[in-house]
Amino acid sequence: MPDPMRIRASEKDGIVDVKILMRHDMETGQRKDAAGKTIPAWFINQVSAKVQGRDVFNANFGSAISKDPFLNFKYKGSKGDKLTVIWTDSKGEKRTDEILVS
């Protein structure tokens, strides 16, 4: 089970500012280990955020995104929104976290 995300979401004047920290190695597949072997690629490729089933953000990540990605976006919403964030990676692993907008 992948490590949890840290999500912060606060609303002001009808706009919700969402900040997400994701825990992921984001290996590009270009790096070599100390023995000279290539470290296989492994990275988040999809991120989506929904509020009560409605899409508010979708992203295709890739190998260009750095380790432990930090994502910040805004959407039109209100306090008390139940925000669900899901990421999937190139190995098919998935992580889902939820937060109530403050």
């Binding site: 490590d3 840290r6 900040k19 920290l21 825990r23 380790k67 930090f70 910040n72």
Partner: protein, 281 residues
């Protein structure tokens, strides 16, 4: 002074005019040298501000809080009764008072050596197993997370390290001597790099650890997450790598030398605000 303002009808007129233009040219020529270093420092400061939001240290802190509460080791007990100096289980503000003297071990301990004591006495996890582990692996990986959690609970607090106990005073004095101890094939000591203002290696500014302002810049910012390597470094790891670059032999994890220099930095930083866990480039 009179040469600044050329007097008409005197031969000094010509000389003072050329002096004036010489000084102007000199200032213009020399200014970029000063402003280059300043611009680079400003740019790095701007970069730090940009990435300050979303410090991946928080991911370690989250994991650390869970580990603090999770029963572990042969005794299957959590760390929740660990005494970090303010009583069993008190984490809030504890890191800001370390290193300090502990009666039960009869020695001055920093955060990591104290956590090892708790792991051994409460959980049955051997101190040696933590010492022997490589940085960022096994028990040291868990240590990273627990340290991130504990220091977060002192974020924004004033460094408040006491030297009232004779062992604390002695550890501080040892730390001062250790700080200035030259060794290895480069003759480096901590002081070689960290004893004066305005020093830098390549473009990396070096805090002057002998003053309060410099000491808090160092002691108040590590442990930190390093963006360039994607790793979280505790203070022990930071000291370890300093000594590697000083071409010293390997400092044993949690050894008295590391606690002594920590004591020296912390006491020098007393009263400064701690920003840990930090975020470094």
């Amino acid at each position: 002074m009179r040469y600044w303002f050329p007097r008409k009808d005197t031969y000094m007129n010509v000389i003072s005019k050329s002096c004036l233009s010489f000084y102007c040219l000199l200032t213009i020529a020399v200014w970029p040298l000063f402003s280059f270093a300043q611009t680079t420092a400003d740019e790095i400061a701007k970069y730090r501000e940009m990435i300050a939001d979303g410090n991946p240290s928080e991911l370690y802190e989250m994991a650390g809080e869970e580990l603090w509460k999770k029963p572990a080791g042969p005794k299957n007990i959590s760390l929740e009764q660990c005494d970090l100096g303010m009583g069993p289980g008190v984490v809030d503000g504890a890191a800001a008072r370390l290193p300090k003297y502990f009666k039960d071990t009869n020695r001055v301990q920093d955060l990591e050596s104290r956590l090892m004591t708790c792991m051994e006495t409460l959980q049955g996890i051997s101190v040696q197993s933590v010492i022997d582990a490589k940085f960022g692996a096994g028990p040291k990986k868990e240590m990273d997370a627990i340290v991130a959690f504990v220091v977060t609970k002192s974020k924004g607090k004033k460094v408040n390290v006491s030297i009232a106990h004779p062992k604390e005073k002695s550890m501080y004095e040892m730390g001062k001597k250790a700080f200035n101890f030259q060794g290895g094939p480069y003759d480096f000591s901590c002081a070689s790099c960290h004893n004066a203002p305005g020093k830098r290696i390549r473009l990396q500014d070096l805090p002057n650890l002998t003053t309060k302002e410099g000491a808090i810049a160092g002691w108040g910012y590590w442990p930190a997450y390093r963006v360039s390597s994607g790793q979280f470094w505790t203070m022990q790891q930071r000291i370890n790598d300093c000594l590697r670059q000083q071409r010293f032999p390997f400092p044993i994890y949690g050894s008295d030398f590391t606690i002594a220099v920590s004591m020296y930095m912390a006491v020098t930083a007393n009263g400064g605000i701690t920003q840990t866990p930090g975020l470094k480039r």
